[in-house]
Symmetry: C2
Subunit: 331 residues, 2 copies
């Protein structure tokens, strides 16, 4: 810890905005200003006290923030820093997708280990984190408009805020599911810890396309496991969720993982987190049309229905409802 309270350091700038304190951070911001692509949407980008986004219509502003940290969300020595950058932005875009909002901009707050990581300096680490974010930003037409860069003696923290706008259809909420709605998921679930959790593919395009073409009642991204997130969507909607376990699309990762954990693949699909797929509630007819359609490039599978009785349920072979623990599995 830099002892800025020492008498001899009084003259030093006490780091409010440590971005401006150290030559490394100054150099990094110069790099950043030259690296970030220009954008007509951005009236003021990096290099002033705040960024300004042109907002040409009275469209609601959608905002979400998520921090990822070394030792909790990844282990920096075991991955490429680009993967951490990708994940930090990806999980935020996944939240935006869950609202069926269009990405506009992101702000990035870095708290860097002063000594860098491995053989990389703090500067190189910061560059690599951005090099992990920038392709994702480009892919989803998002402008990174600035941020804050600090360094300290603790582990890496990446805090990202993403700003989007609602479409003409309005936002998709967790609430809004109705009794009789079908529950659908994109992709396949479980076992992301084998590596997929670092390769978040936020379902932004899928959410916008489905929201535009079909009647959707509610949506959530699956970040904490299907069981828990289905419970949340149901609870927010004042209903219950009943899943047909045999219909749940199982990721090959869940199969692989099950071979070593003694649990079943479906337990992993229900309980593992960080799939970053989407769970939707939609009227039965819309759901059938979506499942027939399958033009998204990612599968859409009906996995259950919204029921009146609050809670999380599974269908038995006799089509009766048995409780399903939101922790994710039931033997």
């Amino acid at each position: 810890v830099e002892d800025w309270r020492d008498g001899e350091d009084w003259g030093k700038i006490p780091a409010a905005d440590a971005s401006d304190e150290h030559p490394m951070e100054r150099e990094f911001h110069a790099w950043l200003a030259s690296r970030l692509p220009a954008s007509a949407r951005v009236r003021v980008g990096v290099g002033d006290d705040a960024a300004i986004l042109r907002w040409l219509e009275a469209q609601d502003v959608v905002v979400t923030t998520d921090a990822v940290t070394d030792q909790v969300d990844f282990r920096l020595p075991e991955i490429e820093p680009r993967q951490a950058g990708h994940k930090a932005l990806g999980v935020n875009l996944s939240d935006l997708a869950a609202m069926a909002a269009t990405p506009v901009a992101a702000l990035v707050s870095l708290v860097l280990p002063r000594a860098g990581a491995g053989s990389r300096s703090a500067f190189d680490l910061a560059v690599e984190l951005y090099e992990g974010m920038l392709p994702l930003a480009e892919r989803f037409n998002l402008d990174i408009v600035g941020g804050d860069t600090n360094s300290w003696d603790g582990p890496l923290v990446i805090s990202v805020t993403v700003i989007g706008r609602t479409t003409a259809r309005g936002p998709l909420r967790r609430r809004g599911a109705r009794v009789g709605d079908a529950l659908l998921v994109t992709g396949s679930l479980g076992g992301s810890i084998l590596g997929r959790h670092l390769q978040v593919t936020p379902r932004v395009v899928e959410a916008l396309r489905l929201h535009e073409n079909y009647e959707l009642h509610a949506g959530i991204d699956i970040s904490d496991g299907l069981a828990l997130d289905a419970s949340r969507l149901a609870e927010a909607s004042g209903c219950g969720a009943a899943l047909r376990l045999g219909s749940i699309p199982i990721s090959p990762d869940a199969e692989r993982l099950a071979a070593s954990t003694g649990r079943t693949p479906v337990e992993h699909a229900l309980g593992d987190g960080e799939d970053f797929e989407l769970l939707f509630a939609a009227p039965r007819e819309a759901a059938e049309a979506m499942v027939r359609d399958q033009s998204l490039g990612v599968s859409i599978t009906k996995i259950g229905v919204v029921v009146e009785r609050p809670g999380l349920w599974q269908f038995t072979d006799e089509d009766e409802l048995h409780p399903l623990e939101p922790s994710g599995y039931e033997h």
Copy 2:
């Protein structure tokens, strides 16, 4: 460090959004949802995948983010956690003030030490941080609309993003100062490390009032010391800044500090950071009117002029320009 990669932990949710993982964080979000005041501007607040702000006009969106951390921006054992919360939000509001933007909303990302702080649990710490932010939010008519709560084995990180809107006068930028403009500051400077740096009073109201009533050409908040921030404003405007050291309003803290550091009060006023006052460039007539006006509740002082020659300068007794080091002082 929670060893979620251990085989026996496979079933655990790998914390993408650790906010949802632990009972503490669930409990905290319930507390937060009940504690945050309702607001007509907020269409969706805490409790969905993202927040939604009603944006009723095509007003540009101003965004800024700043993280503060234990051990760099404060020492948690030596302060009240409310002070850390206040500072985290205050420094962001100061950036918004520097753009002469109206505050709308804030998002807060907390990375909490798992064990809490001192005798406080992580839950109590999080509550106290918010109790430090909420009065400031209320005072500046800002809605806290959500965030992300994580815990880990590292020190406290508070990353705040503030969203505002431009007024009919547009934003105030760092660039825009013209040769011949007067340079003015609010309040008095130096010695904030004696405690004032924790009591940030963001000059939001002052900036908006001045921007509405007078012609301002450029502005910046003084976070890294007058000398450095004046250099930045000048550089962004393609000019130089010449200060009259005898005119700089010296904080009583700078006087007190000088007694023990062997430096002069004006050196502290120039070089210390975290004053969070505003520095403006304005045409001479507007500047004179502002200085005569003094109806803000905080003093406004003319401290220099914008000059053609790039760099930072001080006037000698003979009204000549001598270089002034941006590091903050010159003997």
